[in-house]
């Protein structure tokens, strides 16, 4: 059945989960870099999530999400066999895949899953993929094995040093750029501060740097401009012009500010949800 959750896996219990969803019409057209908009239930809001993987033969897509507020909490309540009410996609411009060299793909947090799909696209196009992934500690690291399946090099950093390099992904990136002249592109997907730091790291090297932006979206088809970002002094819509842009051109400060626009209401919605759940359980 369309939109049915075929497989659910808690990657980090209580925090991050992976869903494999039956969506043949999306799987048939999705490319690395594509995203979907979903609505969990009636009364629900539309939220964007990157497609972490697809299987065209089985007609499935994979999404990975961090439980952060009400909508992702509602998503987390669904189990295998349940269906997602509305699932729309694939959306956005697919990743532009350049060829003939080394591509360093940097991922942080849940962004590693999205980065993984882009890295796979680069690998399939014949590029040498170096994956650099980071998390606060070993337990919060995602998709290391999935990346190892095709990336010849997977470099890991943790903030606390519990696994791999102790420090930030940008330390590993800088070291790598100093050693290697064949890097044709750096891709970064993760929290805004991480993508901003990656762009700052690559700038002195003059390496093309692509970031996948996670702005607030409503329709996801270019109708409203909620997701607008400033890139090279021009206003662009992340949903139709992106979500990937030149990291050296993005106004990250503005993006950070815009992501905070609904914070108090997001908290109110989550609290309201928790209160209602509390009533139910009584």
């Amino acid at each position: 059945m369309s939109n049915m959750i075929l497989k659910k896996e808690q990657l980090i219990p209580g925090q991050t989960s992976k869903l494999v969803i039956d969506a043949p019409h999306i799987a048939a057209k999705a490319e690395p870099g594509s995203f979907i908009i979903l609505r969990v239930c009636e009364h629900g809001e539309r939220i964007p999530l990157t497609i972490a993987d697809t299987d065209r033969e089985k007609g499935t897509i994979t999404i990975v999400y961090l439980v952060l507020g009400k909508s992702t909490a509602l998503l987390e309540e669904l189990n295998e066999g349940d269906s997602i009410l509305d699932l729309c996609g694939p959306l956005g411009r697919p990743t532009h895949i350049s060829s003939g060299g080394t591509v360093i793909c940097v991922g942080g947090g849940t962004g590693i899953a999205a980065m993984h799909h882009i890295a796979k696209g680069h690998h399939n196009a014949g590029n040498h993929v170096v994956a650099i992934i980071g998390a606060r500690n070993k337990e919060l690291l995602l998709f290391e094995n999935e990346l190892k399946a095709f990336a010849p090099e997977v470099l890991v950093s943790t903030d606390d040093g519990s696994y791999g390099h102790k420090g930030l992904v940008t330390d590993l990136l800088r070291r790598r750029l100093e050693q290697d002249n064949n890097v044709i592109e750096v891709v970064a997907v993760g929290p805004v501060p991480m993508m901003e730091a990656v762009a700052a790291t690559t700038r002195p090297f003059g390496v093309k740097t692509t970031v996948s932006l996670n702005s607030i979206m409503v329709d996801g088809i270019g109708m409203c401009g909620a997701c607008r970002v400033t890139v090279g002094n021009e206003t662009r819509f992340a949903c139709v012009d992106g979500p990937e842009f030149d990291g050296h051109q993005v106004d990250f400060a503005e993006l950070r500010q815009r992501l905070n626009a609904f914070r108090p209401l997001e908290r109110e919605s989550y609290d309201h949800h928790c209160r209602c759940k509390c009533h139910e359980s009584k």
């Binding site: 019409h25 509305d86 088809i221 909620a226 503005e254 609904f262 209401l265 919605s269």
Partner: protein, 476 residues
Amino acid sequence: MKASKKPVLPRVPMPNQPPAERVRNFDEVALGYTPEMARQEAGRCLQCKKPRCVKGCPVEVPIPQFIAALAQGDVEHAYRIIKTTNSLPAVCGRVCPQESQCEGACILQAKGQPVAIGRLERFVADEYMHRDACGLITGKPECPYIDPEKKVACIGSGPASLTAAGYLAAHGCKVTVFEALHELGGVLVYGIPEFRLPKEKIVAKEVNALRELQVEFVRNRVGGKTFSISDLFAQGYKAVFIGVGAGLPRFLGVPGENLNGVFSANEYLTRVNLGRAYSFPEYDTPIIRGRRVTVFGGGNVAMDAARTAMRLGAESVHIVYRRTQAEMPARHEEVEHAIEEGVQVAELCGPLEFRAGENGSLAAVVLQKMELGEPDESGRRRPVAVQGATVELPTDLAVIAVGTRSNPVLLENEPELKLTGRGYVSVDEETGETSMPGVYAGGDIVTGAATVILAMGAGRRAAKHIARSLGCAVED
């Protein structure tokens, strides 16, 4: 025609919710005629031999005939007459700019009091709504035979597509409508607010009537992304109608436009109408409830945004317009309603800058004072900046309603589709056919942002040619 000797009675007024009350809810403002009012208003029609009103209607509803039936108290007959050319009368009776169409052409207009054709159409549609569905859409009590081989795809579910789908199904075609959003109706659900066009009571009912004609609706499918036009032909569709509208918002291009608190009207209205954000947190889509709201633009969308802001509890709402209130393109009725509800008009002002407060969010808009100069190519006097005259308006929420452009999502993925210089789909004016054989288009994606009724007229014209090309019997 000679003026009637009888004095012309004034038109029967439409009962409305009182402003002080309605500004606190999202219920429909206009309450509709009672049967008695409708019959009285219908009696004002002079039953012209050569009715000008019909020529003023883009879908050529036989207006004197339906009004005559209504005057005799035969609502069902009146409904069937309307339905011969108009598939969404409950919508049209509410949102058409009748003053510049049918009513503008009415002979009684000379006396300033044309027949209230829109209100009568609305009355007939609402009265008939609860009756059988096939009659509802076709005006005929029995459903036609639908030929499963005559498959037609409509992309988009706004007024143009719904009209095309209704016409095609009534003529025996098997229609599938593909909609990108999760709810059907296009601008009827995301754009026009509940207080002008109820979603459950009216739009959903008109859509459901189409289901009775075996029209299939598939939501969450984006033309150009989830499927291409060639995919549709590969799946056995014999013809395609493109009715995807002109949904890409224009911005002003002035500093500070990306500050938090600045919204396109599309975003603001989509959150409230489609997301039901007025019921947050019962519904999950949030909306910022501005205290001091400024809306840029003078069209119906600007009025909708301003009136929505009032209902969301704003202390003050200003509409900023470059010309004067008299030149506003919005319907007079909408401007009047907005002002009755407390919306203020800042005439002869243009946008200069959005300013942030200490928290980085919008705190004020800076406006350039204008005066009217020489007439421009549209014949209207051009607004000219008064040097050095600026004014700052404290604002914590701004809505930009200065129009839309064609949405590139479908078009840039269909390079064979020939476009006009302005980026809209180029069609044969007579048939609505595009440069791709068997692919038709109509509504805002062809004309740029216009009205519901013009989109419906285009949908109907194209559907007639599609039906004929598929071998259906079509009246001329």
